[in-house]
């Protein structure tokens, strides 16, 4: 079924690419998304970045994209097709595209590849990521201040380092305000299933959580919070319209500036594979306006955001692992390598990490 979908999509993309192949002096920049661009979440934000590239670089570039490409081996074909059809720079925007991209990048040494949220690089494969965990620390502090029950519900997709890092950062933020703060964690094993995300939110609220955090892509959980007159945080894009009384803030991604700089570098011939990890200070991670909270909480959140923008890392010791063994000494800062491969919880997380 999925294979059929991919085949169909790659064919349509091929047609649209072929149609514009005459404009040979233009640089072709292409994107591969794991979700639909209409998800109003993660893939949507990446596509907004693509549109910004089109706007900023005008007729020097042309862009194309493939959406709904499933992670894993099926993605090989998507990347290969784009490379064959003349894309000069290709952005793969999901963790699961890592191995397919490594493989295809080797086959097409003249094409520039970029992969988001992964850790494998190559001669023509750069990686980029956003430090979402910085924002999640702020969410944790707000949650601890705003939750009456002292319990947050946390809806997560897959146990990959990116997600684990987010849970840990959230908990460290919450514990900095309330050392006894708890988070109930539900894995929905999907990036995108609005119905299931809504069901998970209902289950978490029914079990006593009064704030919901998500590392999934739809607005469904926030809508449940709105219905129950409780609170939650948006994800990827500002979701305030869906939950005007429930959204405290939203952790949003701004990929546009990065994409523009990379495509520009490709145009100038200065592109080199790189490893960049952008955070709040680069404007790649943004928090939507703080709403539905008292002024002192808002002031605290803004202060923390500023502190992080100033270079402070939420993963600064002392931090212990879940079982109590020390991880970071007092004042020690976690290195990026450890964070990118994070497969353990910090102390206070009430869940067993699926392996």
């Amino acid at each position: 079924m999925k294979k059929l979908l991919i085949a169909l999509m790659t064919t349509t993309a091929a047609v649209s690419l072929a149609a514009s192949a005459e404009a040979a002096d233009k640089l072709k920049a292409c994107w591969v998304y794991t979700g639909p661009i209409g998800d109003f979440g993660y893939s949507y934000q990446h596509d907004q970045g693509r549109l910004e590239v089109e706007k900023a670089l005008g007729d020097k570039v042309e862009t194309a994209y493939l959406e709904n490409v499933s992670e894993g081996p099926d993605a090989d074909r998507a990347f290969e097709r784009l490379a064959r059809e003349g894309c000069k720079i290709i952005f793969g925007t999901s963790f699961g595209f890592m191995d397919p991209e490594v493989k295809v990048a080797k086959k097409f040494p003249k094409v520039m590849f970029e992969h988001a949220t992964g850790y494998k690089t190559g001669d023509n494969l750069g990686i980029y990521n956003a430090r979402f965990y910085e924002g999640r620390y702020v969410l944790g502090q707000i949650a601890a201040k705003e939750s009456k029950a002292g319990v947050a519900g946390y809806i997560v997709s897959f146990p990959i380092p990116e997600v684990v890092m987010g849970i840990n950062s959230f908990m460290l933020g919450a514990q900095s305000i309330n050392p006894n703060f708890k988070a109930k964690i539900v894995w929905v094993n999907s990036w995108f299933d609005p119905g299931k995300e809504a069901d998970a939110a209902k289950a978490l609220f029914d079990q006593g959580a009064d704030i919901v955090v998500q590392h999934t892509d739809s607005t469904a959980a926030l809508q449940v919070a709105e219905e129950r007159k409780l609170h939650g945080f948006g994800q990827s894009s500002d979701m305030i319209k869906f939950a005007p009384n429930a959204q405290l803030t939203s952790l949003t991604d701004e990929w546009g500036p990065y994409y523009i700089s990379r495509v520009q570098a490709a145009l100038d011939g200065t592109w080199k594979p790189d490893n960049v990890w952008l955070g709040i200070k680069d404007g790649a991670v943004k928090l939507a306006p703080f709403t539905n909270m008292p002024d002192d909480v808002k002031a605290m959140a803004e202060a923390t955001e500023k502190k992080i923008a100033g270079g402070w890392n939420p993963f600064t010791g002392p931090v212990a692992k879940q079982d109590g063994t020390p991880w970071l000494k007092d004042g020690e800062v976690a290195d990026d390598g450890t964070l990118l491969g994070m497969n353990f919880y910090v102390k206070g997380v009430d869940d067993k990490l699926p392996q």
Partner: protein
Amino acid sequence: MDITINILLTIATAATPLLIAAIGELVVERSGVLNLGVEGMMIMGAVGGFGASYLTGSPWIGLLAAIAMGAVFSLLFAVMTLSLATNQVATGLSLTLLGLGLSGMMGTSFVGQPGERLPNLDIPGLTSIPVVGRLLFGQDPIFYISIALTAAVMWFLFKTRTGLTLRSIGDSHTSAHALGIQVIRYRYLAVIFGGACAGLAGGHLSLVYTPQWVENMTAGRGWIALALVVFASWRPWRVLAGAYIFGAVWIGQLHAQAFGIPVPSQFLSSLPYLATVVVLVLISRNKRLTMMNTPASLGQPFVPDR
């Protein structure tokens, strides 16, 4: 007590779209047609329902639009497979692909727009009865439709003459044709009914379950509905049981996780599928009865020779 009621209500919400889509498909398959386009018709219903509700401001109009959208979209399948005798499996699959793509295109301007939820039933005096009030008199209107629909289909298929005729077509379209029954006409109506049901199920998603439009929001529910029909061996009450077992385990596993039960979440996520298959296989284990219930000419194209 409150949490039990909340859980039961959540289960009903999760089971309703599966039940409606599966009941519709059951009628289609009983007439001998295999329409694998449920997912596509469902998503078209979802986008049509949301769109109409968004543009007119009335979720009730949305509800009607969802039904109409599913029915019209299924007509495409009917023309292809019944009048032009194309392969049903291939046509159904392409209906799903077309629906997923087309709905995404139609819904571009609805992305990021909050929708209005279809209001829950609220009968003064009855809904406020403790415990049973909210369960019996406080749910969304589509829930009541789904139950009534199941009962109506049971009655229609097994208690009416037209239902008997429909089943006979599903068992042997050539014999039915020889008896002077208008096979193609019956099948057209069955397919359109199935489309309307799938559309309604999609409307439930975009008007009740999660009042919003996002691409792919059916997330495979059409396929689950299809599987339910087969595992329920084409009996309406078993479809009802299957949908609710699936919903119960689906919600139950989320609660188990939130509660902190130390079972791998991947296993818990697969549990609804496993449990439903096991239960339905157990209740359908009488081989003779299952054979009897299986529409014998399912999926075979029918071309009247004169």
